[in-house]
Amino acid sequence: MNSPAAYLVPASVDEAAGALSRGNATVLAGGTDLMPQANQGVRVFRHTLININRIAELKAVSRSGDWLRIGALVSVTDLLQNSTLRGICPMLAETADHFASDQIRNAATVGGNLCNASPAGDLSPPLLALDASVEMACHRDGRLQRRSLPLDQFFLGPRRTALAENELLTAVQIPLPPPRHYGRFFKLGIRPALDIAIISVALAGVLENRKLNRVRVAFGAVAPTPLRARRAEALLEGRILDEETIRAAAQAAREEVTPITDVRASAWYRSEMVSSMMRRLLHEAAGA
C-alpha cells in the first residue's frame, strides 16, 4: 500500500471543493471500501487524502419543496433509523436492513456507496427506483458551483462514474413520493444481510386498484452498472397486475439484463433469479 503525501480535513463543502480543484486527491468518507481496496492494492492513494467526515452539511437530511435531500455522509444506519427518511422512503430502510452488518452500516455512507459504483451496490437499485439525482460540487471560475445529475446517468461502468476529478458528491436528491407510492427492495443472498448481492431488485410506483403507475424497476449485480429495466417498466405501466402482465414483465426484465458468471453465481442463475424475483415482487404488489 502506498501512502498519500498530504492530509486535509476540510470543514465545509467550499473548502473541500477548493482542495479537490488542485487535483490528485483521494476522498475519505466511511472508509469501508477505501481501506480494503487500498490494502488489496486495487486502489492507489493519490497525493492528498481529503477526509470529508467533518463537513456538517454532508450529514444532514432535509425536506425542501418537493424534494428530499440526503447528505452524502448520511450513514446506512441513518437510513434505518432516521424517522423522516423512514416515513418518506421506507424502501431505503428496507434496503439498509439488508446492507452488511451493524458495524459496517454505522460507517458506510450513502455517497460512498454510490461513488464506489459497484454493480452490486445495495443502495443503487432503490435510489434508481426513487428517481434520485446526485448533487455534485466543484470550484469553477473561482467559486463553488453545484450541478445535479439523474442517478441513471451517473454510473458509467464498474467503479466508474460521471463524477469529475475535481468534484465532490454532496447529496442525493429524491422527489417526494406521491400518495399511494409503493416501493419494495429484494436482495438475493445466502444470509439476511452481509452478503454481496447475487442479484438485487427494486420495484416502485403508485399502486392503485392492482395497477402500478409511474413504474420503476431497477436491478443490481446483473450488468456492468446498476440499471433500470425500462421495457419491463413500460409493460407494467398502468396495467392490472394479472398473471399475464406479470409473466410478460418478468420475461422482459430477464432479456434486459446482461449478468456475468462469477464466484457468487452463474449468469444463467442470475437471469433465472431476475425473472423469479420480479414475479415474486409483482405478485406481492398485486396482493398489497
Binding site: 500500500m1 501512502s3 498519500p4 503525501a5 498530504a6 492530509y7 480535513v9 475519505l28 466511511g30 472508509g31 469501508t32 481501506m35 480494503p36 487500498a38 490494502n39 492513494f45 487524502l49 477526509n51 467526515n53 444506519t77 452488511a100 452488518s101 451493524d102 458495524q103 459496517i104 454505522n106 460507517a107 444470509r191 439476511p192 444481510a193 452481509l194
Partner: protein, 170 residues
C-alpha cells in the same frame, strides 16, 4: 524516509491521548501495535468478521476499516475500557455461564458489540440479538451459546429491572 503522519488527539477509554499516526494506519493497528491494547483482535482485516469491533462516539465500528487519523477529536472505547467498567461484569459472566467462549478470539469483539447493543436495546428478542451480532464471526461456530449469553442478560435485566445499568458509562 518516515511516512507522512499527523498528530491526533482523542479520548481512549475515558482518557485523553495524543499520538502521531501515519496517514494510512488503521485504528486497529494504532490500538494494537502502537498503544499496546491487544484485546481488539486482527482477523480478516476487511470488515467481515467483527473481531476488531470498537466503539467510536457511541457507534460500533470495525477498527480495521477505520483510518487512525479519523479518530482525531473522537471518543473511543475498546474491550479494555468495557472490561474495566463494573457494569459490564454481568454480561461477561453471562458469556462464561453460557459457555459462549471457546477459543476466545472472537470474544472481545462480540462482548463490545453485545454490550453496545444491550445499552440501546434492553428489550431485544432472540431474532434481534442474532441480527445485532451478524457482523461478528465465531470460527468455532459457537453461535447458539453466544446468543444464549446475550439473551440471558436481556432476561436478567428484565427480572431485576436493571435497565439502567445496561447503559455504558462512556
Amino acid at each position: 524516509m518516515k511516512p507522512p503522519a499527523r498528530e491526533i488527539t482523542f479520548t481512549l477509554n475515558g482518557r485523553p491521548r495524543s499520538v502521531e499516526v501515519p496517514l494510512t494506519l488503521s485504528a486497529l493497528e494504532l490500538l494494537r501495535d502502537v498503544l499496546g491494547l491487544t484485546g481488539t483482535k486482527y482477523a480478516c482485516g476487511e470488515g467481515e468478521c467483527g473481531a476488531c469491533t470498537i466503539l467510536v462516539d457511541d457507534r460500533s465500528l470495525c477498527s480495521c476499516l477505520l483510518f487512525a487519523v479519523d479518530l482525531d477529536g473522537r471518543a473511543v472505547t475498546t474491550i479494555e475500557g468495557i472490561a474495566a467498567d463494573d457494569a459490564s461484569e454481568p454480561l461477561i459472566q453471562a458469556f462464561v455461564n453460557a459457555g459462549a467462549v471457546q477459543c476466545g478470539f472472537c470474544t472481545p469483539g462480540l462482548v463490545v458489540q453485545a454490550r453496545h447493543f444491550l445499552a440501546h436495546h434492553a428489550n431485544a428478542d432472540r431474532a434481534a440479538i442474532k441480527r445485532a451480532l451478524e457482523g461478528n464471526l465465531c470460527r468455532c461456530t459457537g453461535y447458539q451459546k453466544i446468543i444464549d449469553a446475550v439473551a440471558e442478560r436481556v432476561a436478567a435485566l428484565h427480572e431485576r429491572g436493571e435497565e439502567k445499568d445496561a447503559r455504558s458509562r462512556s
